[in-house]
């Protein structure tokens, strides 16, 4: 692949300079003249009817400019990303007559400063009728449990059930030498982006509104805000400045956005609403807790013939992106293995807790923990090497999951083999001294979802490229840079296509008024989807430039042309060419001075129901477990990742490391602890995120490059999928080290000590 000039080469990110100098502007940094501060009053009860809201005292407080409540000041529209499936839209910006979780917004105020706004909140009197509440999905599904939502499609708090099945699972189980069933529990965690949810809204009059907001999905915010406010979509301008992390937690319309807009409409002033960290915990989102049961049938040689997965998710009080997490968890349960017979049943259950939603991996971390744990149990039962059983059952290029997916490129075999080789797997597995162990986890992940919940008539991604007369290039994209480096990847793709230097590319992004619609940053979609849209746009420009070059040079036969290193030249005669700028100027003149613009879009074709392409990877961790304290230390972590053609290696490695460490926290320490629906650790002091001294000192990333025909230059997903195999990988390494298997996440020192204790007792008896 040495013919590339920019793709796969070390380049500095285009947002780097502003980020290291403190100049990068985030929503939280925006201060407009006359700006008011908005704050929300939240429910102290997990489930209650609202009988009355008295805002009169708050309104009289000096410095208060507006007080709003759901029934009085909002349209009461139920909105969410599920515009195509209205029965799943269940949430309003402010409670209408009932609250369903502690932290649900009820009313809001706009005041001259935060102190006055907070005092005003304390003056709002809400009369509640407390309702019985339910906090566990299995309890919530029982007859007689409190009903959290009414409606024709909700029964016993189940808001959505997912089922898929292929092959003949029951027959296959009968043929199997062994069938085993295991149950697992996955706990709740939060996104913990460092920039809190926040928005600044400015109503311009005449039904026009501008909002700056920390979001992964500007286009969703535009369409849903129009719906919530009763304004025209095109009259709402969503500006996404730099975003301080999202991880799936900022891909929906949230109350801060709606409330800021309404308060601005009421007061005629710009209004900023910024959640405190505690509010981000209580009024934000989380990853789904799940009860998982896996029944797997296999042969003596390790071949897995059939699998049945059943799961109940604790969805919290509203659907959010839960139905998709549910769907994808059942889907990723198969990856990266070729399971010939599979049946999945998943249930999304309402509880009186903070809504759960998409979070890095989107149902995958839960699925892979159970899958990887059970494969190791099967390997042990058969006396096989866990790596060998994975290789035996792996997916192969061209794999088809009936009715769901077509997998083209697939480097899982190479990933497993390279991870084994790099770590000395064969010499270590089962052979390390007591207290030390090695484990493996594997995954496959999507490169963008073929999902259009929002019911947009637009394509998945759009792009516009304009070449100026001096050869500089303006790139208009609606995709959302939230730290992952996608704007730089977009610039690299255009620079490579047009043969111009990175320094001549200017990316225009994060503004729905100027940028094409794009479904935003979720499901690892941007490199593939906006990348393809950019390639289409660049090809239109190149077509014009090549025709112009042919007219200028007048070769005697038809040649193919290329653009590279600032030149347009005859492909087979590279010495015969013209300066890029010269051809651009001529092309513009030849077109009556019309701007040189290319427009592109991406819509997948014939790629199944889930994703246009799949990435793969194998993860190996070597751990040390202190049997006195139960503490787990990661000695060496190795990732072998097939992300197709690498576009930005530094970016891929950074994403892999970040994904691993997020997975490490998920496995070992993070846990959103609740009691009767109340979060007990809503702070960065009590909620234990990984800190620098906790992360592995030795982290190796191995790039297994394949070529994905559907991806731009052969590229696919990087950086989200690796969140998935960590828990299973670490659990397997712990088992290898001390012989105890934890199936109830997270794997805390307390659980390890308890399991060791039980193991000793058992051994003493036996």
């Amino acid at each position: 692949m040495s013919e590339f000039s920019v793709i796969g080469k070390p380049v500095r990110r285009i947002d780097g300079l502003e980020k290291v100098t403190g100049a990068a502007q985030y929503t939280t940094d925006i201060k407009l003249p006359g700006m008011l501060i908005g704050k929300m009053l939240r429910s102290p009860h997990p489930h209650a009817k609202i009988l009355n809201i008295d805002t009169s005292a708050a309104e009289k407080l000096l410095g208060v400019k507006a007080v709003i409540t759901g029934p009085r000041d909002t349209l009461g529209v139920k909105y969410s990303n599920w515009r195509r499936y209205p029965h799943l839209m269940d949430e309003t910006a402010l409670a209408m007559d009932r609250v369903r979780y502690i932290g649900e917004p009820i009313a809001a105020v706009a005041a001259v400063d935060a102190d006055v706004a907070e005092e005003a909140l304390s003056l709002i009197e809400v009369e509640y009728e407390i309702l019985p509440a339910v906090f566990d999905p299995l309890e919530a599904m029982k007859d007689g449990a409190p009903q959290i939502h009414e409606g024709p499609t909700v029964r016993n708090n189940v808001s959505e059930a997912r089922h898929f099945e292929f092959g003949n699972v029951d027959e296959a189980f009968k043929k199997c030498d062994y069938v085993r069933e295991d149950t697992f529990y996955l706990h709740p965690v939060i996104h913990a982006f460092i920039e809190p949810y926040n928005s600044v809204a400015r109503y311009e009059g005449d039904g026009k509104l501008t909002i700056w907001t920390s979001t992964q999905t500007p286009y969703y915010i535009q369409t849903l805000l129009a719906m919530a406010l009763g304004l025209k979509e095109g009259n709402i301008r969503v500006i996404k400045p730099h975003v301080g992390g999202g991880f799936g937690g900022k891909m929906e319309l949230f109350s801060d956005q709606v409330v800021a807009a309404i308060l601005s409409m009421k007061t005629g002033k710009p209004v900023k609403v910024e959640l405190t960290r505690e509010e981000c915990f209580e009024g934000g989102r989380r990853r789904h807790p799940m009860y998982y049961t896996l029944k797997t049938g296999y042969m003596k040689d390790g071949t897995i013939l059939a699998k049945e997965a059943k799961l109940y998710t604790d969805g919290g009080a509203y659907n959010a992106m839960g139905p998709t997490s549910l769907y994808l968890s059942g889907f990723f349960q198969m990856f990266p293995y070729a399971i010939p017979n599979y049946r999945y049943d998943g249930f999304h259950v309402y509880t009186n807790k903070t809504p759960a939603t998409a979070m890095r991996g989107f149902g995958g971390p839960q699925a892979e923990f159970t899958c990887d744990s059970q494969i190791d149990m099967i390997a042990e039962h058969l006396g096989m090497d866990p790596a060998e059983i994975r290789l035996k059952n792996r997916m192969k290029p061209g794999h088809v999951i009936p009715g769901l997916a077509k997998v083209e490129s697939c480097g899982i075999k190479e990933c497993i083999e390279r991870a084994m080789e790099s770590t000395g797997w064969k010499e270590k597995k089962g052979k390390l001294p007591k207290g030390r162990g090695i484990g493996m986890g594997c995954y496959g992940f999507m490169s963008g979802g073929v999902f259009n919940w929002i019911n947009s008539p637009y394509a998945y991604s759009g792009a516009m490229v304009r070449v100026n007369v001096d050869g500089t290039v303006d790139v208009y994209i609606g995709s959302a840079e939230i730290g992952q480096g996608s704007d730089t990847v977009a610039a690299q793709i255009v620079a490579e296509k047009l043969g111009v230097p990175m320094s001549d590319i200017n990316v225009v992004r994060g503004d729905t008024r100027t940028c094409p619609p794009d479904l935003g940053a979720w499901g690892s979609r941007q490199t593939l989807m906006v990348g393809n849209a950019l390639i289409m746009a660049c090809d239109q420009i190149l077509d014009k430039l090549y025709k112009t070059a042919a007219a200028l040079m007048g070769p005697n036969v038809v040649y193919d042309y290329a653009a590279k290193d600032g030149r347009v030249f005859i492909k087979e005669r590279p010495e015969r060419g013209l300066d890029f700028v010269e051809v651009v100027k001529a092309a513009i003149r030849a077109d009556e001075g019309n701007q040189l613009i290319g427009r592109g879009y991406y819509t997948p074709h014939d790629k199944g129901m889930v994703s246009p392409a799949y990435s793969f990877g194998a993860q190996v961790a070597e751990v040390e477990v202190d049997e006195e304290t139960g503490k787990v230390t990661l000695l060496q972590v190795t990732t072998a990742h097939d992300c197709g053609q690498v576009i930005n290696e530094l970016g891929v490695e950074g994403q892999l490391e970040g994904a691993f460490v997020m997975g490490q926290g998920y496995t070992l320490s993070e846990n959103l602890v609740t009691d009767q629906g109340k979060i007990l650790n809503p702070s960065f002091v009590d909620y234990k995120l990984m800190r620098a001294p906790d992360v592995p000192e030795n982290f190796t990333s191995l790039m297994v490059e394949t070529y994905e025909p559907e991806g731009p230059f052969g590229a696919k997903e990087a950086g989200e999928g690796l969140t998935n195999p960590n828990a299973g990988c670490i659990a397997n390494a712990i088992y290898d080290a001390i012989g105890v298997r934890i199936t109830d996440m997270p794997i805390t020192p307390e659980k390890i000590l308890k399991a060791l204790d039980e193991k000793k007792k058992k051994e003493a008896k036996g």
């Binding site: 940094d29 201060k31 920039e195 301080g244 490391e657 702070s683 620098a692 992360v695």
Partner: protein
């Protein structure tokens, strides 16, 4: 009742009237208008607001503005010398020491404090020196590498000067 506060910010003397309850981060961001340092938790747990007071890293959300009377405060905006970046900034750019960038201003200042005290830190010392600063994007690996790289660059620069 506001009080007059005199202090130095990024080398420039300031005299400002502040309320006794105003925190240093509020003063820097809201009153003076330097928005490099960020507020991630407002409780001294995430380090996004890290600034230097007399060369030492502190969480500016946990310091009252009036406490810096007569002291020298430095934010990320004071790190570069005009358009010449600090070696830490160069290293963060070259080694991928940031992603979303929200923790970066705090990380850079925590790193500068660390290098002020220990110009040649080991990887172990860097890891522990960053324990007050959260990053959710990078997994810290490249931040640690960047700081190590910056220390080497500074050593080299220092060597050339002497």
């Amino acid at each position: 009742m506001k009080k007059i506060l005199s202090f130095t910010l990024n080398g420039q003397p300031y005299e400002v009237a502040v309320k006794p309850k105003t925190t240093l981060i509020e003063l820097i961001r809201d009153e003076i208008g330097l928005t490099g340092p960020k507020i991630g938790c407002n409780a001294g747990a995430c380090g996004a607001c890290t600034v230097l007071i007399d060369g030492k890293a502190v969480d500016s959300c946990s310091v009252l503005a009036l406490q810096v009377e007569g002291h020298s405060v430095e934010t990320v905006e004071g790190l570069a010398d005009g358009d010449k970046l600090h070696p830490l900034q160069e290293a963060f750019l070259d080694d991928g020491g940031y992603q979303c960038g929200f923790c970066t201003p705090g990380m850079l200042m925590a790193a500068k404090s660390l290098l002020n005290e220990n110009p040649d830190p080991s990887i172990h010392e860097i890891r522990h020196g960053l324990s007050g600063n959260l990053c959710r994007c990078t997994g810290y690996v490249r931040i640690i590498d960047s700081i190590h790289d910056a220390a080497q660059r500074m050593k080299k620069e220092g060597g050339e000067k002497s």
